[in-house]
Symmetry: C2
């Protein structure tokens, strides 16, 4: 066959990987297993690109069923397009709104297929200048003893930065943070994720206390809907603020930069893919902001993709690349190794989905 | 059976109703048929409530498949709850984000079932003080001759207010508006829907020209992402601004009221249901804003529900209740009549879904 490779097939394959323990990030939000979807793009020359979509009904309104449905909706417009025509593919991907993880995974699977169609991999086309990156672990809400035990487990596994989910009981949260500090000293960086739980009235005191407790930053202290209060809190510069829920999309980032609500952008490949993820990092850097790459509880495949974005020059902070430590098993053919707080991203070049594991864990 | 009626079943039934002609509202957004989903709530006493979900991939990211998927996701938490416990039902409905039309329809179907469980209908529990309402028709983008012909058809059918979709060719749009004015004189109210197509630089001149052409207001002149420019344009009070895409959710409305970006709130039952729709109208009125009820190209059932919200005291403007004029057929047992610009909402009390028509048009 002559001519450039074209898209022949788009599929979503739901699968389920069991966790070591549940991850909670709110009163009504918890995961006991990773029920994700493998997005697979097949070209007419047989090339296959894959990526992981982690549907989150409470955050993005997606389910495994909706991921499969939106891929089926987009497939007719994608099939037949040349894989090299990234602009045309993005126009189709952006012809629908929301569906964040489905569209993020579709973008990454297209990037994967595009690299492979020319005999390369994403490690050739996307690996940036920082090939070793610092990693953080998201410590879910649990009893203080449970949080400390989980922290000890992941620090033993090579993590040196913990993002601590905090909630409405500020005094209890500060107690957990003091315990973590007492256990690990200065060898472990700690920061907080408030998940929009503070109020404009209480936030300044809470951020002062977090800073005094040695936390390096706080993610989304205030409700996203309260843009004015977020702008006013940021203007006080009490503690660097990480933007996550306030920056789901490039359009969100435009607004947040305009109103200057944060210091550090948390870009998630799971919801933004590579195309928008790279553009958002560049836009944030151009505005003088710092960058990190976050996780939507990604399993191994999503972690490899997030790790590749983490190697870009715009990424300045530890990245959420260690959720795999909560998996009982993974789809990848080898584990992702962490050492003294670092992940050597270049060493992941031969990590790939094991077909036998996919057959074992897929749900169809 | 004793005790209050409880939810026994939640279903989505996709159906397809043909249009008289395609409706376009952008370069790549058009409908040639209404492919919607009937959301059906069945209680354990046999009571059934229904509503219409019109999935819009380009606006809300939904498809018929995603509507069915999110209903299946929510059903386990809904089944067994008392239909009278509106707060508990709303907590489940709001446990997921996005899925605007699925959740809007679910809310309306629950309201319908709640009324029927006590031997009433929505006309007993929701009909407001304004039982006759003015109606508007959305004139899609077409050739000038096509737009004029469509306008003449719907004015002959009893409409006296036209919302004219305008786009990037401002001069051509003003020509169409002059033709409409020349044809109908002052007997037909005209306003514009810019669908975010103007720029901050051109908007003041464009709004001046619209006002001088006799348009009564303009919907979403600027890109939603440009909150600051929208706030600045509104502060100049060149022409009343209608908020639509900027107010998809109650959280959006909170932000828009805080930054004072509009004069008239367009609430759509299709995306907000009754619970949030009523709350949003009250919040807008409390802030001194006017209210209208919009259509997401609803067929008869959705129109009856939108019409009920239109009868509330907070609704001050003509409402988008005449999309049924573009349908070749409908699921309802009788047509919705318009007379000299008005719809007598109280006269719709016995309009209901015809089971034979549903069987004919359903897709499963």
């Amino acid at each position: 066959m002559t001519g450039p490779a074209r898209i022949a097939r788009i599929e979503g394959v739901p699968y389920r990987l069991p966790l070591t323990s549940a991850l909670a990030w709110g009163a009504h939000s918890a995961l006991s297993a990773a029920e994700h979807v493998l997005v697979r793009v097949t070209l007419d020359d047989g090339t296959v690109g894959v990526a992981e979509a982690p549907p989150r009904p409470t955050i993005y309104g997606e389910t495994p069923g909706s991921v499969v449905a939106i891929l089926a909706h987009l497939a007719p417009a994608l099939i037949g397009l040349p894989i090299a025509d990234a602009a045309a593919l993005s126009r189709v991907r952006n012809s629908v709104t929301n569906n964040h993880t489905a569209r993020g995974a579709l973008d990454m699977a297209l990037w994967d297929a595009r690299a492979r169609a020319t005999g390369q991999t994403l490690f050739d086309t996307l690996l940036g200048p920082t090939s070793r990156v610092r990693v953080s672990f998201i410590l879910g809400i649990d009893t203080p003893a449970g949080m400390l035990a989980e922290a000890e487990r992941v620090v033993a596994a090579g993590v040196r930065c913990l993002k601590v989910k905090v909630g409405r009981d500020h005094t209890r949260d500060l107690g957990v943070i003091r315990d973590l500090r007492a256990t690990f000293g200065d060898s472990v960086q700690l920061y907080a994720d408030s998940n929009e739980t503070l109020t404009p009235e209480l936030a300044p005191t809470a951020l002062d206390a977090m800073r005094e407790a040695g936390l390096t930053y706080v993610e989304e202290p205030l409700p996203v809907r309260n843009l004015r209060a977020r702008m006013e809190l940021q203007a006080r510069h009490l503690l660097p603020i990480v933007a996550d829920d306030s920056c789901f999309t490039p359009a969100d980032l435009t607004r947040e930069l305009d109103f200057d609500t944060f210091d550090i952008l948390n870009v998630k490949t799971a919801r933004n893919g590579f195309t928008d993820g790279l553009a958002m990092l560049k836009a944030a850097t151009a505005a003088g902001k710092r960058g990190m790459v976050g996780s939507q509880a990604s399993t191994g495949l999503g972690t490899v993709h997030a790790a590749l974005l983490s190697t870009q020059a715009e990424v300045t902070e530890p990245c959420e690349l260690s959720f795999v430590l909560k998996l009982q098993d993974d789809l990848l053919n080898q584990p992702i190794p962490f050492e003294d707080g670092w992940l050597d991203v270049a060493s992941l070049r031969h990590h790939s989905v094991d077909p036998a594991k996919l057959r074992h864990y897929q749900l169809t």
